[in-house]
């Protein structure tokens, strides 16, 4: 499998930018399973950092072009390398077979999945601890209530015998 990490700005124009690209590539490769090829690329023009909607929109045309190129080169998937996911829906619209992932959207999905287990004690969801406590309580209440019933029945019987 081949995956390309696409930066939506011309990050590689400077030494510092190139170093940052190298750093990200090495992290990405450490995540990849053996047999998966991971590459990194940026775009030729556009804002070097995206801090506003204006910059986000400016970055989209070149990013889309880069993604189409990536698909032609035979990549199976791409990661849009910006937390704002600039142009993610547009890229998905124009690409045909490549899977494109945006980190912002992916984090939202993970967060939703984790909502269920956000409260854990010793790794188990609180709802299960509540369940186990309710089971113990159920049995305890049952014994208390039925013993009260037994006592009342005995008293009624004794009264009956006394009379």
């Amino acid at each position: 499998m081949r995956i390309l990490y696409v930066l939506p700005g011309p990050v590689g124009r400077t030494e510092a930018g190139l170093a940052e690209m190298e750093r990200r590539l090495s992290i990405l490769r450490s995540y990849a399973v053996s047999g998966t090829e991971v590459g990194i690329a940026d775009v030729e023009e556009g804002p070097t950092s995206i801090e506003s909607l204006y910059e986000e929109y400016l970055s989209i045309p070149r990013t889309v072009e880069r993604m189409l190129e990536m698909e032609r080169d035979g990549y199976d998937a791409a990661v849009l390398g910006c937390y704002r996911d600039p142009g993610l829906d547009v890229v998905r619209e124009v690409t045909e077979r490549t899977v494109v992932v945006g980190p912002g959207e992916a984090r939202g999905g993970t967060q939703r999945r984790r909502q269920n287990v956000v409260n854990t004690v010793l790794g188990v969801g609180v709802s299960n601890w509540v369940l186990w406590a309710v089971m113990v309580l159920f049995i305890a209440i049952y014994f208390v209530v039925t013993e009260i019933m037994n006592r009342r029945e005995d008293e009624a019987r004794n009264r009956g015998e006394g009379e």
């Binding site: 287990v117 790794g123 159920f138 029945e153």
Partner: protein, 490 residues
């Protein structure tokens, strides 16, 4: 070594049956242990009857698939049991004391003054519970096959021979005391396996971290709340008046003992509920690529535990199967001999003849399912679910309303039973359309049939109500009616 533990267990079980043979003198002894069971044996037999291969194999498999939260189901089961213990148990015990009742058809036939109802109840019991014997035999032989390579035919014959032997020999005395042993084996076998499994997974916290990395929902709400609630409601309804559980109330000493025995059965069930949950999730981490989740229990027994404990766990699985099947077998035997031959056909028999006839019927009812178990139908696990739906749909409403609603009539009860089982059968045959469980259709049909037809038809006589309603008894005493007190089931 594991095999030796298993063989030892089977020998002890037969020995208990042989020993208990001496205590059987009358039909009451054979079918209801003389109505003398105490808290410990009563609690054990109630719990053992409730838990079957479905618990020892199926529930562990459910936890393997969905994580911890399937345990909520037990609370629904217990809620149903509380209603049985507090509302049904006392009335059934009164009926046993006053009329010598021994079966559920006894109760329904007397309450609704109808031999037809007695026959309908027997037919439903024989058909629906007969199916469950097939499922249990197949489940047990499957365990012997995957663990020791015992051919399925031999496995079915071994398991059937053992439970037929001790049921025939000692009747409910044997069943109750083997249930006590089986419950201890079940609790100890499963509870001891838990620390081994959790420890192998790296400890409790590590186990949960690994579960969470497989799927975060496994440590929280693996089974979606809607699905869980639907299952819980259907379990709750199905178990109301569930015949093999309800019939046990006759055999326990008195109402106080019934209530305490049910409480003790909750303790047994609680230990097993937590154990099966932990074994299921541990198996998910330790053996993530099982061919089927049902292999979780036997795999833990054979691949994880030391041989003696592995043998104990396998014995526990067989114990769960045998305790349920023996209870079913005795109930079917009594349905034919006590209800049909003695009460419907009116054959006069001595106590000895009655016991011997019941023993003969137990042997026949034990042998009959064997050919079906040797050539099992596909989706055998589904049989239990369908059988339970049929049983719950036909017995829950007539039993509960029969004990608490005087206006319930013969025609209403017949409509309720036939309508309930009929609608359940049709719904199951259609494959549960719209994903709606058959119980949600059949129980309302059964309830509506009972109420509407009862209100439109003539009420039963006061004589039929007396065994179940105190005010009717008191009224009867005031008018010095001789019918109550030494009566026999109608």
């Amino acid at each position: 070594m594991a095999a030796a533990v298993l063989v030892l267990y089977l020998i002890v079980v037969i020995a208990i049956g042989f020993y208990m043979r001496r205590r059987v003198r009358t039909e009451k002894d054979y079918l209801a242990a003389g109505g003398t069971l105490g808290v410990v044996v009563g609690g054990a037999t109630l719990a053992a009857t409730q838990m079957s291969a479905g618990t020892a194999i199926g529930t562990v498999g459910f936890h393997y698939q969905t994580g911890y939260n399937f345990t909520w189901i037990w609370l629904a089961i217990w809620a149903s049991w509380v209603i049985m213990a507090l509302l049904m148990g006392p009335k059934m015990k009164d009926f046993y004391n006053s009329h010598g009742a021994l079966t559920i058809p006894d109760l329904l036939g007397t309450r609704y003054e109808s031999k037809a109802i007695r026959i309908i109840a027997v037919i439903i019991l024989v058909f629906a519970f007969g199916l469950t014997v097939v499922a249990e035999l197949v489940g047990g032989s499957y365990i012997l096959n995957v663990t020791f390579g015992v051919p399925t035919t031999v496995g079915v014959l071994i398991i059937a021979a053992v439970f037929i032997a001790y049921t025939v020999l000692g009747g409910l005395f044997a069943i109750a005391y083997t249930d006590l042993l089986q419950m201890l084996v079940f609790c100890v076998g499963f509870a001891i396996a838990v620390p081994f499994a959790v420890n192998r997974a790296g400890g409790f916290v590590a186990l949960n971290e690994q579960l969470s990395s497989i799927d975060p929902s496994l440590v929280a709400n693996g089974m979606p709340t809607g699905t869980l609630l639907a299952s819980a409601i259907s379990f709750f309804i199905l178990l109301l008046g569930y015949p093999i559980i309800a019939i046990r109330f006759y055999s326990i000493k008195d109402n106080k003992t019934i209530r305490r025995a049910v409480g003790l059965s909750f303790v047994f069930q609680g230990i097993i509920a937590i154990s099966v949950a932990f074994l299921g999730v541990s198996a998910r981490v330790l053996f993530p690529n099982l061919q089927t989740p049902d292999l979780a229990s036997p795999t833990i027994a054979m691949d994880l535990l030391p041989p003696i404990l592995g043998g104990l766990l396998l014995a526990a699985i067989l114990a769960a199967i045998q305790s349920t099947v023996s209870a079913v077998l005795l109930m079917l035997g009594s349905a034919i001999s006590h209800d049909i031959v003695k009460n419907v056909l009116g054959r006069e028999m001595t106590e000895r003849q009655t016991v011997n006839l019941t023993r003969l019927v137990v042997v026949i009812m034990g042998i009959l399912p064997i050919p079906f178990a040797l050539n099992p139908l596909p989706l055998i696990q589904q049989i239990w679910i369908n059988a339970a739906a049929l049983i719950g749909s036909s017995f829950a409403v007539v039993t509960l309303l029969g004990l608490y609603w005087k206006r319930g009539t013969t025609a209403g009860a017949i409509t309720s039973m036939v309508g309930g089982i009929g609608s359940a059968a049709v719904w199951l045959a259609l494959g549960n359309p719209f994903g709606i469980n058959a119980v949600y259709i059949s129980v309302p049909v059964s309830l509506l049939g009972m109420i509407v037809v009862s209100l439109l038809t003539k009420r039963v006589s006061n004589r039929a109500l007396r065994p179940f309603f105190r005010d009717e008894r008191e009224r009867s005493t005031e008018t010095a009616s001789p019918a109550y007190g030494g009566g026999r089931p109608i």
